[in-house]
Structures are given as C-alpha cells and as structure tokens.
C-alpha cells in the first residue's frame, strides 16, 4: 500500500513517539528493583590496632561511607549501594583521609548481591578479602559458613549439632556456606586443648556467618546474621482479589439504559392513552 509522503511521515512520527513513551517506563520499572547491592566491612585481624575504614565509589575521591575506630571483631551493618565498582581503604584510626591507606581493595558490587570486605590475617600480613555473601537458602534450611579469625588457635574445627561446618580451618581463612536444618543447636569449636560450646539459632530461610574470635583467655564465636527471609516461602501467587471491583468490559450499561428508555416510552404511551380515553361512569 502506497501512502503519500506526508501521511507516511505522520505515521512514522506517531509510531516513534508511542514506542518512546513505552520503552522508558518499562526500563525504569525493572531498574528500580535490581540496581542496588549490599556491602559491609569487618575488622577480623586480632593483632591489628583499630582502623578507620573508607568506602569510595570507584573514581570518586570523596568517601561515600567512613567508619571510624573499627576494632578487632567489629562488623558493620550492610550498606545498600548502587551496583558498580567500589574501593575499600583502611587507614590507622585517626589518620587523615588524605594519607595513603594502609590497605585497599576494590569490589565489584553486583545488583542484588551482598559482599563482606574483611581485614583478615595477622598484622604483619594483613589483607583485605572480598567475600561474596550467599542470599539463596535451600528450602527449609539455613546457610552457614565460618570465618577463622583466632590467632590463639591456628586450626579449629567448628561443628553445629552433628554437622561439621569446617574441619581444621586455618587462621585467616573462610569456609564455604553449608546448608543446615536444625533450628537451634550447640556450636562446638575444637582445637588443640580447646573445646568450647555455645548454643546458636540458625532459623530456616536465614544466612549466617560464625566468626571464631580470640578473647582474653581462649576463643569465642560470634554469630552474624547475614540475611533472613521467610522460613517457608509460600507456593505460587496470592489470591487477594474476588473481582468485585474488577473492570468489566462487556458488561456495558447500554442494555439497562435501553430497558429504562423503553419502559419510559411504554409508560408515557399508556399515560397519554389514559388521558385521551373518557373515564368510565359507574
């Protein structure tokens, strides 16, 4: 089919503006929910003094977040950040932000994912390690991993109830996540000459990190809640509507209006006829 040129132009403009109107709406709706990730910072090096921890968006010289005087065993809450490249820098507590950091690491924060950046190891070999935190729990189970941050005990075995979470885990290392199903059980830390037990709760649908820490005389365990969700995820969609306010296309008011109009006409005709006819005498 051949259109004259000006009509073709109108059609092109109309199609273009409609698609322009539709596309950005769809794009912004999907971007809003998935463009953030999470990051948290931890100091897990027993003989390293307190530090100031800086979080920079990559290429930006002013810090997005500064945590001051972070000591051994401190773990920050998660910070929701726009997905992208970040730099974490550690300076001695109180040092000027202009000084060269003692350590720094870069993190690629993926939308919808969580990361822990931890100072690990002894002070002499301190490193910043980027850990990816799991957010997907198997059905009806919790996920748990172990960070071994005790210098007193170089190798520890950590178990939860009957499950060994980490066997002979070396100082400064991190186990991978393991699914567990018991909601509450004793955690045991075994090392040479040490056997510590304490009870923790690992609810189904939640993700935990157990940190083995030095304390004054021995070791202790810190139970971090990385993430939580529903213990049992409901199946499928949700039946939250019965249709009483649903738009009903075909049920137009016209039939009813027709009945009203016809009734009015019939009534009018009857009334006129009644007027014209003489009243019967009785």
């Amino acid at each position: 089919m051949e259109f004259p040129r000006h009509i073709r132009r109108v059609i092109v403009v109309a199609v273009a503006s409609v698609s322009l109107a539709i596309v950005p709406v769809a794009a912004s709706a999907s971007a809003a929910a998935v463009s953030t990730g999470w990051i948290r910072l931890a100091h897990l090096s027993p003989n390293t003094p307190a530090v100031d921890v800086y979080l920079y968006s990559f290429g930006d010289s002013s810090a997005q977040l500064v945590l001051r005087h972070v000591g051994y065993g401190d773990v920050s809450p998660y910070e929701a950040v726009t997905a992208g490249e970040y730099t974490v820098a550690m300076r001695a507590a109180g040092a000027s932000a202009a000084t060269k950091p003692v350590l720094s690491a870069s993190v690629d924060v993926v939308a919808g994912d969580a990361f822990t950046v931890a100072g690990l190891g002894p002070e002499s070999a301190l490193r910043l390690q980027v850990l990816r935190d799991d957010l997907r729990t198997p059905p009806d189970k919790a996920l748990v991993r172990v960070i071994q941050a005790s210098l007193h005990e170089h190798l520890v075995t950590v178990s939860y109830g009957g499950t060994v979470l980490a066997a002979s885990l070396a100082f400064g290392s991190v186990s991978s996540y393991q699914p567990v199903s018991a909601p509450a059980a004793p955690v045991r830390i075994e090392a040479v000459g040490v056997d510590v037990a304490s009870s923790v709760t690992l609810a189904a649908g939640s993700v935990h990190t157990l940190v083995v820490l030095d304390k004054a005389n021995g070791v202790t365990v810190d139970n971090l809640l990385d993430a939580a969700g529903s213990a049992v995820a409901p199946a499928g969609g949700v039946g939250t509507g019965l249709g009483g306010a649903a738009p009903r296309g075909p049920a137009s008011p016209l039939p009813w209006v027709a009945v009203i109009v016809a009734g009015a006409l019939i009534a009018l005709a009857g009334r006129l006829r009644l007027r014209r006819l003489p009243r019967p005498r009785t």
Binding site: R136, G236, G237, L242, A251
Partner: protein, 205 residues
Amino acid sequence: MKAFAGRPAAGFALAVGLAAVAVGGTGLILTRHWVTPRYPAAAVLRVPAGPAVARPGPVAAPVALTIPAIGVRTALIRLGLTTSGALQVPPSASIAGWYTGSPRPGAIGPAIIAGHIDSYLGPGIFYHLSELAPGDRLFVRRADGTLAVFRVTAVRSYPKDHFPTHSVYGATPDRELRLITCGGTFDPSLRSYLSNVVVYASEIT
C-alpha cells in the same frame, strides 16, 4: 364500549413501563462500581507518630499499617499457609495481614503483608496499591508501640503463574517490607485475578 375497553390496556402499559424503568434503574445501579473508597482520605490521614526505631535485635510483632499516600490505615491480622502451601489471605477484604513465617517488619529480611484488592462487592484495603511510587512512605506500628518506617523502592506486577518467589520471599541482608495484592485482568471463570502486584520497600534508618 370499545372506548372503555382501551383503559385497562393503557393502565397496564403504564404499570409495565414504570416497572421496566424501575428494573432498568436497579440493574444499572447494581452493575456499576461506585468506586470512591478511602482514597480521598489520603489528604487528611495523619502520618503516624511514635518512636521510630530501626534497632538491632528482636523487634515486636506488627499490629497496624498506615500508607498515607493512598489513604490506607488497617490493623494487621496473622497469616499462615494454606494446606496447599500457598499464602493465606485475610478473611475480610477490609483488613491486611502479616505472614508469620516471614521476618517481623523492622527485623532483617523481607516482612510480608498481604491484602485484598477487592471483595465480591467492591474495593478492598489494597485497591490503590499499584498507584504507589518509589519514595512513598509506609508505616508499621508494632505491639510495643514502636514504629517502623519504610520507603517504597519498586512496584511490580507479575503473572501469578510466574510469581518470583525468590525476589519476594528470599533472604535480604537489610530490613525490608513487601506488600502483596492482586492485579491485572480478572478471570471470571476462575474467580481470580491473573497477576499479583508487589510493592518493595526498605526501612529508613
């Protein structure tokens, strides 16, 4: 005689005509939706006041939800799962409920609150939920009187047969809230809407 014979007929026509007008009018009224629910109250609904605490550790159970932007104020009942494993829904369309298997609002993780878009007769408590926009505030009152304040981050609609279980119910590292209702096309043969509307929100700290 003939002239008189027309009178009952004319009277009958008058009566039938008036009856038809009455039936038509009633039908018209019953099949319309005079949708003027709580929405107009939005302008006068007060923002809840109280100690708004986003604190670590245990939080109390939720008892009420206020959404000033769409004029919603409702008590919260407790919801569990049906025998088939689906999320229970409130028995009344005029009240919302919190899923007890989800985190409490203000605790780590996504708390789940569901409410009806409508009943058989008309709009329900979440009739205007899909009109919320990122930035709108949600207020949850807890049993101890404290308030958790959330900010809407996204409003999404999903076909019920492709419900994103992980994004709605899955673990999150921060304190979030999800509001769920129905939306999309209503299928009269199933007596069910074909989609769910989910509002995503994060706690303001």
